[in-house]
Structures are given as C-alpha cells and as structure tokens.
C-alpha cells in the first residue's frame, strides 16, 4: 500500500517512540479512517505502518507477528467491526510475541451507531485492551490511552542505543 505519511515531507530529527500498526479488518474497505489515525499517531511521535483496506486475517496476523509493534490499532467503520474483531483477536493473542502487546479497536463497530454497546465488554473480554466506539469522544479517550504507554520503545535497548531518527 502507498505510504501517505504526512511526516515524510518535513525534515526533522526526533526520537521515535517505536512502531505502531494501523489496520482495518478483512471486510472493511474504508481507508480515510486509516489515513486519519496514521497522521494522528505519527503526530504523537510514533512510526506508523498502515496495512490498508480489507486486510485478510492471515496477513494481519503475519504482519503483526513479524513487525512486533509497540501497539496495534484496529479501525473499522463499515458495521462489521464487532464480528471481525471477535474473530481475529484470539488469533493475534496466540501469535507468539503479541500476547501482551497493546491491541485496541475503534470506529463504528456495529450498524446501530453504538447505542446498544454491550460490544465493548465482549471485545475487552476477548482480549482487546481498549475499545473506542464513536459517540463516546473516542479521540480524547484514545489520547488518554496513548499517554499510559511507555514513552520509550520496548525494544530500544536491543536496537541501536541512541537511534535518532531522521526523516527527510
């Protein structure tokens, strides 16, 4: 998928907080939400890998396993997010390095505008760390969640000690 990174154009030096995967689920073709989240998360200091639309379960699991990111952010707005999310979360948790990785989901997860949201409980019980449904100021809540994450990448010690990132 093409990279729409907004940071690519500016030139600055900054310590990255690590990589975040932004993705949607197998049945969902919407991409503006992904672009939106990519930009938002980059502005919080992370590198973002955006997997694009209609990500098949196997690709989702293999990308997440291989990249072992700081966090996985799943967005779905087509109304099938609950069903698709319930299906993949177990597969993600079972992939070796992802058992404790923060995995969150948000957007328009059912076809009902989030009004009868018993979904949140079920998704959390199934293994998500947070659920951000529309109608409950999801962006503010998401920022609050980001603030609880460590500000250094987990694997920083393993990688180059001081990896100042230059993007130009």
């Amino acid at each position: 998928m093409h990279d729409l990174s907004a940071r690519g154009t500016e030139s600055f030096v900054e310590r990255s907080k690590g990589t975040v995967i932004v993705t949607t689920l197998a049945s969902d073709s919407h991409t503006w939400n992904l672009v939106f989240l990519q930009v938002l998360i980059e502005e919080c200091g992370y590198d973002v890998v955006n997997l694009g639309p209609c990500v098949p379960d196997e690709l989702l699991v293999s990308e997440c396993r291989d990249r072992n990111p700081e966090m996985i952010v799943i967005s779905s707005v087509n109304g099938h997010g609950y069903q698709d999310g319930m299906r993949v979360i177990g597969q993600l948790r079972d992939a070796a390095p992802l058992a404790a990785t923060p995995i969150v989901i948000g957007g328009k997860l059912g076809t009902d505008g989030g009004e009868g949201a018993s979904r949140t409980h079920e998704l959390m019980a199934a293994g998500f760390d947070a659920v951000f449904e529309d109608g409950q100021d999801p962006i503010a809540a998401f920022h609050a969640f980001l603030a609880t994450l460590p500000s250094e990448p987990r694997r920083q010690a393993v990688e180059a000690a001081d990896h100042a990132r230059v993007s130009a």
């Binding site: 998928m1 093409h2 729409l4 907004a6 154009t9 197998a26 049945s27 969902d28 073709s29 991409t31 503006w32 992904l34 672009v35 939106f36 930009v39 980059e42 502005e43 955006n50 694009g52 639309p53 209609c54 087509n78 109304g79 099938h80 609950y82 069903q83 698709d84 299906r87 328009k108 059912g110 076809t111 009902d112 505008g113 989030g114 529309d134 109608g135």
Partner: protein, 455 residues
Amino acid sequence: MSELTAVREGRPAGPAPVDFGEFVRREGGNGRLVVQPRMGFGDPGRMRTGLVATKAADAATVGTLTLDSYTRVGNLEAVETALRDGIDLNGYPVVSHPAETTAAVLDGVRDQTFPVQVRHGSATPIDIFRAMMRLNLNATEGGPVSYCLPYGRTPLADAIRNWEDCCDLYVRMQDVGIEPHLETFGGCMLGQLCPPSQLVAISFLEAMFFAQRGLRSISMSYAQQTDPVQDREAVTALRRLSAEMLPVANWHVVIYAYMGVYPETDHGAYGLLASAARLAVTTGAERLIVKTAAEARRIPTIAENVQALEYASDTALRTGRGRDDTFTDSPTYQEARALVEAVLNLDDDLGRALLKAFRHGYLDVPYCVHPDNAGRARSYIDSGGRLRWADTGKLPIAGIAERGPSRKIGSADLMNDLFHVRCKFDAGPRELDPASPELIRGRAAVGSRPKEYTA
C-alpha cells in the same frame, strides 16, 4: 420457482422486467427526478419492508438491494456466522440467501412501475452476477476501476478481467428479451477530494467500457462535491461528453448526494441533500441517490430513508426549473475531455486503456492507497470552496488544469478538507427553509418521532 427454471431454460417468465434505463428516462429529467435509497438489510423480511416503503413513498422511486461487505469480498462463511448468531449485516447477502428467499422478497413489489437495482462494490463479482441473473434482476452498478481502487486489494488487472467476464455474462440476458442495465460508480471513487474533472472522466470511461462489452442501457454517476457551481460544470461536462462520444442512445445521469464525511445535524444533513437535489434538476440529471440524516453515524432505518426520498423529491419539484446550459463550456469540461482523450488514445480496448492509464499516471486518484494507483496527484479545497489540484502528478492536463499556486498538503490541511462539507452544512442556518419542516414529515426536526416500519 418458475422464474428460475425459465432463466435456466433461456426464456423470461411472465413479462420481462422493465429496462431500468428506459424507466428512469421516462420518469425523470426535464425538472423531474427519480429518487433512490442506498438501502440494504441482512434480514429478508426487513429488506422486503424497505422495498415496499420505498415504492409507497410520495415520490417517483426505484428500489435498491445494497449488498453487505462480506458478500462483496466473497467471505460467505462470515455471512453464515452473522445470520446464525443474529449479528446485523450492513447489507443484503444476495448470494447466501436461497434464491427462493430473494424471489419472495421481490414478489409483488418489483414490477413494471418499480424496478430494483443491485448495488455492491466488488472487484470479484461473478457470484453476485450469477445470483442476480437467476432472479431476473437486470439493473446493477459498478465498474472495473470504481469497484476496485476504493474497495480493497484486488489488483486492477484482475478487476478489469473480472468485470469483462461479468459484462459478457450479463449481456446474455439480452438473448432472452431482458435488457440489462449497468451504472458506473466512477463518479464517486473515494467519496471525497477527487477533483470533479477526473470523476467525470472515469465515470464516462467506464460507460465506454460497458458499451464496448455490449451493454445498451447505461447510466453515468456523479457524486456531489464541495462547490455547487463546479458540480454543475461537472455534470454538464459529463452529459456533453456522453452526447458527443458514447455509442449508446439509452443513457442517463445519476447524481449521488455527497459521499464524503456527512453533516451530523439534521439541518446540515437535509441542507446538503437539498443542494444535491437542486444540482440534479438544474443539470437535467434523471435520477438522484439520497443520503439520510443518520449517514454520519450508522445504517439508516427504513423511515429515515423514506423521509430522505420524499424530502429530495419535494425539493426538486420546488426548484421549479429544469436544466440550464450556462456551464456548457467550462474548465471542468476541458480537463475531463483531455483526460478522456489521453486514455482513449492508449488502446482501442477500453480495459487495456484503463490499465495503461493507471500505469502511466494518466489517471491518478488523490489519497487512494491502492498499489495500482500512481499516488502522485494531490487535491485541496480552495478558499472559495472549489476542489482543485495541488499536484497533478503525471495527469495529461498540463496547461489545462485549474491549479492554485503549487502547495504542500500537511496533515491539518487534509483533515480540514475532509471535514469541510460537514462543517459548512452543520454551521449553516439552523432553521430549515420555511417549507422544510412540513416536508420532513414526522421527523425529530419538527418534534415528533419518525414513523417506523416493522418487518
């Protein structure tokens, strides 16, 4: 199941279904508008109730079966799971429900006065076409480009081949006396931020593709964008190109009410819908697909759909004038024509021409992440509200394109542009124009609960 056997045996059961294109051309145009919902429910009972309500609405209507996302991507297992566990689908799973069930949904509703169209968004649609044809459903929508780039990961070359095969299959309905109709989705693409000239060009080129595969009843779409004048230029350009070059007589234009981030307030949503209805009548478009007050949040109810249909139809009638030709020659026409000619010159075969066009960057949809899109073109909304090119990449419109001063689009700019239309209409006059409350019958906007239909 006599209908089914009849199609298998190659003859229509009873009277052939009406040609969608001919029907719309008769009922719409010259100041009149055929209105249509984007409606689809997983439950057959609710789907039927929705069709019945659409037909009964106080407006000239046609019906819609919008298919769910699992059917679009061919994940029929997930459809089964949803149906079994009682999870709502975002559309009607026409491939999974037995043909008998869908025949019962349509029975007595679809007739010579009420054609029904199938809308989906699949780059691999052969099963959908087969299911439709088993049911004598002879109106649908799509395109090799527009049902590919905005809808997933299928390579463009595969989507083109699939759509060629499907068209070849679909036109066989002509052999049994049924006229198949196909509408381009190319006038929408990602729903927002694609400059109108390119929407016109892609919509028109997909119509040429359909015509080349033998379709004789075609409609071209155009989705309302950010500026009413530019939109009128665009629709006029689409009509002019079609009149000049499309080798088919039975065509019409369909307008989509705004397909990007929709206003959240009732007054904003209806204001935008009214503006789409006025765009349609003043450009001579024959048909309008509406959006509802629930658009920004969730799948609309049947009642919300009916209110939107009636409101749009009444607004069109009140506009009180038909098409005017003020915008016959415009920068939008010049750009669209340059794009169309450049693509047509690439190859006599439209499928190959479209593939080459994307490889060369002669067509390039801003912010589309599909790997077969060049991804160099960028757009922005100028201070007057017009949608312009910020970067034309390799588009063959140098010297013709309407460009502002060259500029970089940062993240804040992109977000402002995405939410521009929503903000404008939500901030607009809180009061609907005096006639509106009575038009939006029984709606929350005038205090009472909307009437609901139960399946």
